[in-house]
């Protein structure tokens, strides 16, 4: 093998560069193509109102998918995000409800308290999963499948199976408010994206995540604390799930026990469409964001065209598999 690579290094460089360009911009080009087609087929699609709507619909999945990217980069997976969304949403809502029966004693509290509680719930769920995965070498699929069930159950217990309604207006602002006309959830997504991009591309911790995902043995021999890095990515995913849960309940005005069901699947879909490898070590948060936008734009566009949501699901399935097939082909082609 080595002789082939050595001999043809200059041609390899060309195809390598080609591949890099495809990897770098392929997903972006696909996104632009999709937008272009939808813009031509429906004059309403590119109106500011609709763009804002698409972004708003993408924001929760976007936040979850970014957290998922951290986990998948280390060869893990987090199936629990949907349930954590519900639990965090419900716990934080119970601090700001004006309903006499649904809230905890002393509610409504100021918004900051609720926000802290929601994030804390997410962090705790993530920390527990991370601890189990990194310390006991339980496969991430199993540990987070357990949390998927446990957090859903905890949500039902906490709220007695009933929704928490009538949230305070200042809490609802994070879901329904806007700054300079930009909806709050979109701003939060942008902040999460910028922060994650910075961590993954500019910090040591980011490099460590890639190193652990690329080759955990080599990372360990190089003196990296692989256990801690694995632990932390689940904490990040948990915290972002907590944030997403609060955005969701703030938008809808009440926290529902069945909120967030199957959200993990959309998050994983966005990561995969965005070109992050499920075998770890390869991928980018920019790709994930575009992946989430593609899902959002597609749902919206098909809605506008009057296509039933049942068909949308079939198309989304085809898109996920198609994206990975293309990715595989591209990698082999190089």
């Amino acid at each position: 093998m080595s002789s082939i690579e050595n001999k043809s290094s200059s041609s390899w460089l060309n195809s390598d560069r080609r591949r890099l360009i495809l990897q770098e911009y392929g997903i972006f080009l696909a996104f632009l193509l999709l937008v272009g087609i939808l813009a031509l087929s429906n004059e309403f699609f590119l109106t500011p109102g609709n763009i804002s709507n698409v972004l708003l619909q993408t924001s929760i999945n976007g936040v979850l998918a970014i957290g998922m990217t951290f986990v998948i980069l280390t060869r893990g997976i987090d199936l629990s995000v949907g349930s954590v969304v519900a639990l965090a949403g419900m716990v934080s809502a119970s601090f700001v409800t004006s309903s006499a029966t649904a809230g905890i004693a002393g509610a409504p509290y100021p918004m900051v308290v609720a926000l802290a509680a929601g994030i804390l719930v997410g962090v705790c769920c993530g920390a527990l999963v991370g601890f189990i995965v990194s310390r006991f070498s339980v496969p991430a699929f199993v540990a987070t499948l357990g949390m998927l069930s446990a957090a859903r159950g905890a949500t039902l217990i906490y709220g007695g199976g009933k929704p928490v309604p009538a949230l305070s207006p200042d809490f609802r602002w994070i879901g329904t408010g806007n700054i300079l006309g930009i909806p709050m959830p979109v701003i939060l997504l942008a902040v999460v994206f910028a922060g994650s991009w910075w961590v993954l591309t500019r910090t040591r911790f980011g490099r460590y995540i890639y190193a652990v995902g690329g080759n955990p043995h080599a990372a360990k021999t190089s003196g990296l604390n692989v256990t801690r890095i694995r632990f932390l990515v689940y904490v990040i995913s948990g915290a972002l799930s907590g944030l997403a849960g609060m955005i969701l309940s703030a938008r809808t005005g009440s926290a529902l026990p069945q909120a967030g069901i199957a959200y993990e699947l959309d998050a994983i879909a966005a990561v995969v469409i965005g070109g992050t490898s499920l075998s770890g070590g390869v991928g980018r948060v920019t790709g994930t964001l575009i992946g989430a936008l593609i899902i959002g734009v597609m749902n919206n566009g098909l809605d506008l065209m009057g296509i039933q949501s049942y068909y949308q699901q079939v198309l989304k399935g085809a898109l996920i598999v198609g994206a990975v097939m293309l990715d595989q082909k591209r990698n082999q082609g190089g």
Binding site: S9, N14, S15, R204, N215, S222, G223
Partner: protein
């Protein structure tokens, strides 16, 4: 007599660059033929065309006088050409017999598998070859060497008469290698043609009858090994005179660099003691599984020893994890660069910097310019051939990959260098560069402990040699007072 296999003018290009310009080869029945060449010589391309993995651009392949062309390894195997690959890929949870007859299981009634016939046939085959392996054993319970023998049995069950072996001894010990060689001798006596690919010249001289040398994708020469000496063969492989293979420039001092006393880890090593001096290259020789690597694992904090003391520069140190060892100035070049040394999908630069990130970027944010400078320095210092330092390290040759691993550790300016098989799978030219790097490090006052299963290398490079046998030390010997025979004798 008609040759078993005759190849002429074989050509192959990848993306406009010729990997193989003129592949010529002639294999006689009942002989062992060594295919030699450095990394990048075109050997692997040659093999992959013969096995039907790549399509050739030109040339002819005659098998028993008939032109052949294969679309896949399965086709090649059906026509009697088999390969024992460097990295075996058996199905671990299946038995030996099931692996041999995978895809061709004898059928019983109702479409089931006739396990009885299969096991009987497999055992008969193994017995005929004098391999002491049970056909009912699970593949995962076999050693690498035994798996190779199963692969050979599988090839013969397809009635292969041409068998390629690509670096078969790279993952097995000396004793097992001798086992393999006697199996090869039997195949030869049976009229099979064996093509043996290896970087280890002493093996080639031991078992092969004839040789073919490739260099830079072209045929350089062929002949009988009886008519050429080691020096002459090396000259053909590298294309120039290389001088002495092992040039030692270091002189051991009397100052202790690394002292190990009574190091034990249950079931792995027992009561290992030695002192490696500054300026010394201290060799450790032993078979696979004799506890050599386990010593390093304990020294580097990968394993926790149950007893023993480690002293650096006369000071006792406690090492609980790799980071502790690194803080003490220990560097560990692991046995298998692909598994534990490198993040193959990541770039050359990131791999070089991986072990030094906290030092280069003390705050949370990375300092790209320092990483860039560090990687440029190491690439220049070790003459690493890479188009760009942002290309994936998987695109480099074995020798250059190994130099990246060395660069990663030298960047930390270590005081003690632990080397586990530092030249495995590296060609003759790159080997010398690595020897030079090791010698320079020792000459500058560094302490080197080196594990190798290549006897020539351990005798050529080490000042003293610790022999390991079944987890225990079988003595420490000066290089002048020992030779290959006594090392093998002590280790078994």
């Amino acid at each position: 007599m008609q040759p078993l296999l005759k190849v002429e003018g074989l050509k192959k290009s990848f993306g406009g660059v010729a990997a193989l310009r003129d592949g010529r080869f002639e294999l006689a029945a009942g002989s062992v033929h060594a295919l030699c060449g450095g990394n990048g010589a075109g050997k692997s391309t040659f093999l992959s065309i013969l096995m039907g993995i790549h399509k050739r651009d030109g040339g002819t392949i005659l098998h028993r006088g008939k032109p052949v062309e294969f679309g896949s390894p399965a086709e090649a195997l059906r026509s009697g050409i088999a390969i024992i690959e460097q990295e075996l890929s058996p199905v671990p949870h299946m038995t030996v017999a099931e692996n041999i007859y995978l895809g061709r299981e004898p059928s019983a009634r109702f479409g089931g598998i006739d396990f009885k016939t299969m096991n009987r046939n497999a055992q008969a085959l193994l017995d005929r070859l004098e391999f002491s392996i049970s056909a009912r054993e699970y593949m995962m319970n076999l050693s690498v060497a035994q798996m190779q023998l199963v692969e050979i049995a599988k090839a013969l069950s397809h009635e292969a008469d041409v068998i390629f072996m690509d670096e078969p001894t790279s993952a097995i010990g000396e004793k097992e290698a001798q086992h393999l060689f006697s199996a090869i001798q039997r195949l030869k006596a049976d009229g099979k043609g064996i093509v043996y690919v290896s970087h280890r010249l002493s093996e080639i001289f031991q078992i092969a009858d004839s040789y073919t040398v490739f260099r830079d994708g072209g045929f350089v020469g062929a002949g009988n090994l009886a008519d050429i000496d080691r020096r002459g063969l090396i000259r053909m492989i590298v294309g120039r005179e290389l001088g002495e293979e092992y040039i030692k420039t270091n002189t051991p001092t009397e100052i202790a660099g690394l002292e190990v006393a009574g190091l034990s880890a249950p079931g792995k090593i027992e009561d290992i003691s030695f002192t490696a001096h500054k300026g010394e290259i201290f060799g450790i020789y032993g078979l696979m599984g004799s506890g050599r690597t386990e010593i390093f694992n304990c020294l580097f904090g990968m394993d926790r020893p149950s007893a023993g003391e480690i002293r650096l520069d006369g000071r006792a140190v406690t090492i609980r994890q790799p980071a502790d060892a690194m803080a003490e100035g220990i560097a560990f070049v692991t046995e298998d660069r692909k598994v534990t040394g490198l993040n193959l999908i990541d770039s050359v630069r990131n791999n070089i910097c991986l072990a030094s990130l906290p030092d280069m970027s003390p705050s949370f944010v990375m300092q790209k310019s320092r990483e860039q400078a560090a990687s440029a320095e190491m690439i220049e210092r070790f003459a690493i051939k890479a188009a760009r330092d942002t290309m994936p390290v998987s695109g480099l040759s074995g020798g250059n990959q190994q130099k990246v691993v060395l660069g990663k550790w030298f960047l930390r300016q270590p005081r003690v260098l632990l080397l586990d098989e530092p030249t495995r799978g590296v060609d003759v030219g790159a080997k010398r560069e690595i020897y030079r790097i090791i010698c320079d490090f020792a000459a500058a006052g560094g302490t080197v402990v080196m594990i190798s299963s290549e006897i020539d290398e351990i005798l050529g490079m080490s000042d003293r040699i610790l022999v390991m046998r079944q987890g225990r030390s079988a003595g420490i010997h000066d290089r002048q007072d020992t030779d290959a025979q006594s090392l093998v004798h002590l280790s078994t």
